[in-house]
């Protein structure tokens, strides 16, 4: 019979061994955890700004803001001082504020100089100090931002390679109009806010251009929700629309925007419709581009109704078959919009047809309305040489076949946002939605 004390001793000994095993086994875990925390601790502490493109600093050298003048003073990449001079100077007087005096938001230059009509120069807009491909104050000397058609559509000819260049193309998002509208509509937007900020939160915006397949890197924020990114969450994407299908990627009839893959459910594209309609659901005042819609006042853009009761390119149900059955006009709808599920209905994304910043296309009409050069694997042209030339029939022909529009530049005479048989008489006696 075993001595009770000895049994107790053995038991204690066994427990000690078990404890020590636990400790020994736990030690590597603890050490690993320590190093994980050591290495990634800063990441865990990072907030939305450090996660943004402007705040990026790691892995070294990073790509965040890094103004030459302030970098020369030793400020780290991503530091606030590259944009904000708390006392309108660094070191008392140098570098002198670019605009010659203190600027709202303690920026090193004025946000916008209220220029009503482009083309723009670098000093017109604070963002242009860096977002130009030549002469940027960023230490790299330039920042490349290509057209939407190129970055997300695969188009290969660059009509603009920077943001200022895009806004200096023939048709552009008028910055004065953006500022003018935003400051009356959105609480966060001040009189001296930068027009770009209506769509982008510089403390949030990510580098989508480097990750075109990943909308969690979105660069946009809805003007009605400025403090959050838009498109980064799964419920903020075009996949919300059952009947959405992205256009073909350039050079392909099998792969789709924005990544040139076979995936085509819109899950990689922010819901640009909700985004754009924050403004364009309203009649937006314009100082430049007249609307084609005769029901729209002369100094406004047409309010867009993209719902089921609005435009057919929106959520409104198809009224004719994709083969044109039932329509007295000839014409069909081509791929990828003629197959299930979108053959029964479809909705487009605003950016399937429009550039967000500016378009190279030149029109004889009041504007080419920022229409894309590349639409659904179609390089829009046909009415003359040069990248800016295009036929309206070729633009519409990106998705439609037809032979009823009265010539190569006739489409927009009858087809525009809100068109409802309200064009000139030769558009016909149409009384239904024609866009």
């Amino acid at each position: 019979m075993e001595d009770p004390d000895e049994t107790a001793n053995k038991s204690r000994h066994k427990k000690m061994i078990q404890d020590s095993r636990f400790k020994v086994q736990g030690l590597p875990i603890m050490i690993s955890l320590f190093f994980v925390l050591l290495i990634y601790g800063h990441v865990a502490m990072a907030g939305p700004y450090l996660d943004s493109a402007h705040g990026n600093y790691t892995p070294s050298p990073g790509y965040g803001v890094n103004r030459t003048a302030t970098a020369n003073s030793g400020y780290a990449r991503g530091n606030c001082a590259h944009c904000h001079e708390q006392h309108a100077s660094i070191g008392g007087s140098e570098p002198t504020p670019a605009s010659g005096s203190a600027s709202p938001f303690a920026l090193f230059a004025d946000n916008f100089d209220n220029k009503i009509i482009g083309p723009y120069v670098q000093t017109d807009n604070f963002c242009f100090y860096c977002h130009v491909n030549v002469g940027a104050v960023q230490t790299e000397g330039s920042i490349t931002n290509k057209q939407y058609s190129n970055t997300f559509g695969g188009y290969t000819i660059d009509s603009a390679t920077d943001i200022m260049g895009a806004f200096s193309l023939n048709s552009y998002h008028n910055l004065y109009d953006i500022q003018d509208f935003a400051k009356t509509k959105f609480d966060f937007f001040k009189d001296s806010s930068n027009p770009c900020v209506a769509c982008h939160n510089p403390h949030r915006a990510k580098r989508n251009k480097a990750h075109p397949t990943d909308p969690s890197y979105t660069a946009i924020s809805r003007p009605t929700d400025h403090e959050n990114l838009w498109g980064d969450d799964a419920n903020e994407r075009m996949s919300n629309y059952t009947y959405y299908r992205p256009p073909y990627y350039y050079g392909s009839n099998a792969t789709y925007e924005p990544d040139g893959s076979a995936l085509h459910d819109g899950s990689l594209i922010p819901d640009y419709n909700a985004f754009c309609l924050d403004c364009h659901q309203y009649q937006v005042p314009t100082s430049q581009s007249a609307s084609m819609n005769p029901n729209t006042p002369a100094t406004y853009l047409t309010a867009i109704n993209w719902s089921a009761s609005g435009d057919m390119h929106g959520e409104r149900s198809r009224i004719y078959d994709v083969n044109g059955t039932g329509n007295s006009r000839t014409g069909t709808i081509i791929a990828p919009y003629n197959v299930v599920p979108v053959q029964s209905n479809y909705v487009l994304s605003c950016l399937d047809c429009h550039e967000p910043h500016g378009s190279v296309l030149v029109s004889g009409r009041p504007s080419s309305y920022l229409l894309r050069k590349k639409v659904n694997n179609n390089r829009v042209d046909g009415c003359g040489p040069g990248e800016g030339n295009f036929c309206e029939t070729d633009f519409c022909g990106s998705c439609h076949t037809f032979s009823h529009c009265g010539g190569p530049q006739g489409c927009f005479q009858c087809h525009y946002h809100g068109a409802y048989g309200n064009g000139p008489g030769w558009c016909g006696s149409w009384v239904g939605p024609v866009f």
Binding site: S60, G74, A76, H203
Partner: protein, 377 residues
């Protein structure tokens, strides 16, 4: 004999007089306490003079005004890294650490070690107040809206003896510490040495002896914490061991009186030289053209979450009315950002007298801006 008796009699009167002065209760004698001889010498002749002038380490090269044994820095310096030291029973704040490496403990207002030639030697990190050590980086006070008052005026530098008008406080010939502490009153009737208390009048000597020019009759009001916030820069947030400052969000000008003045807090004082950085130059509301000072921290947006852990001595705020103690919380929507929220006026380890290593953030350093700008992390 009569002459001798008269001499003895005079000496006796003098001794009695000095004894009365020195034996008065501490709180009546206010700021300093201890033996008069800690600071004063009647004839500066304990040794042979004038041949022995300057041979004593405690006695600088020449007699000091007010019968002092030393100049400001002479007393307010230490070879030990500390906030204060005991001089014959009197706690003396240390503004200059004289050791080889940078101090690890310093006043809420910082330490001049970082600017002193031969020590830190970096003028971008503080106000260089040492005679002849003109600022290497700045030609004058940045944001100076006052004008020069001459090239040796305090608005231009603190390292030259001023030769202009006296401005009531007999400023002629002064420089350095006295460029800011215009009228140091160690015997003012404020709280006892080593204890905390409210200092809000000329009679009390003003907060840290920071007064306007005599013609203004004004000075800084504040609550002085007893041990000069010993523990900087590592004081944990949330405690009550800190000074208290006052600010004025409704002010319109700068200094104590210019263009309506900037109140009676530290911001008013700083903007006496850095006028453009106050209400006169920063704008009057959001969006500010410069970072505001003496502006209420809004109880909205990202600011609503500011100071989550309570009062942070590393980012001190100003109050709209001065408390008689040092509460441990910040009232968002009421309390104000001020000059001292970001800067240590004497000197700090960091570029532009910052209270934290802003310049090397992100990647290194720290960004206490996010204490208020909570979504800019």
């Amino acid at each position: 004999m009569a002459q001798f008796m008269m001499y003895v009699s005079k000496k006796a009167y003098l001794i009695i007089f000095l004894m009365i002065i020195c034996c008065l209760p501490g709180h009546a004698l206010a700021k300093v306490k201890g033996l008069c001889s800690n600071c004063h010498t009647m004839h500066a002749s304990q040794k042979q003079w004038p041949g022995q002038w300057g041979n004593e380490t405690w006695l600088r090269a020449h007699p000091q005004k007010s019968l002092l044994v030393n100049d400001c820095v002479g007393c307010h310096s230490s070879g030990s890294s500390s906030t204060n030291y005991n001089l014959g029973g009197c706690e003396v704040p240390v503004v200059l650490y004289t050791g080889a490496g940078q101090p690890t403990s310093y006043l809420a207002g910082g330490n001049f070690w970082w600017v002193k030639e031969g020590l830190g030697g970096e003028d971008t990190k503080g106000h260089n107040v040492f005679l002849g050590e003109d600022d290497d980086s700045l030609p004058e006070a940045p944001g100076n809206s006052v004008g020069s008052c001459g090239t040796d005026a305090c608005h231009i530098n603190l390292s030259e003896q001023y030769s202009g008008p006296d401005m009531v406080f007999v400023l002629n010939g002064k420089y350095g510490c006295q460029g800011c502490h215009l009228n140091a009153r160690h015997h003012a009737n404020d709280h006892p040495n080593g204890e905390s208390g409210l200092v809000d009048s000329a009679d009390k000597g003003w907060y840290r002896f920071l007064s306007g020019h005599g013609f203004t009759g004004e000075g800084v009001k504040g609550y002085e914490y007893k041990d000069w916030e010993a523990g900087h820069p590592n004081l944990a947030p949330g405690g009550t061991a800190h000074n208290e400052y006052i600010g004025d969000a409704a002010a319109t000008g700068y200094g104590f009186s210019q263009s309506g003045g900037a109140g009676d807090g530290v911001t008013a004082f700083c903007t006496g030289c850095h006028g453009d950085f106050s209400h006169g130059g920063q704008g009057s509301s959001s969006p500010w053209e410069m970072h505001p000072s003496d502006a209420k921290i809004p109880n909205s947006g990202e600011y609503a979450d500011a100071f989550g852990a309570g009062y942070d001595p590393l980012v001190p705020v100003a109050r709209t009315s001065l408390p008689s103690s040092d509460p441990s919380k910040v009232d968002i929507g009421t309390d104000l950002v001020q000059c001292l929220s970001c800067h240590r006026p004497h000197g700090s380890p960091y570029f532009k007298l910052m209270r934290w290593d802003y310049k090397n953030w992100p990647g290194g350093g720290d960004n206490k801006c996010t204490v208020c700008h909570t979504t800019k992390k």
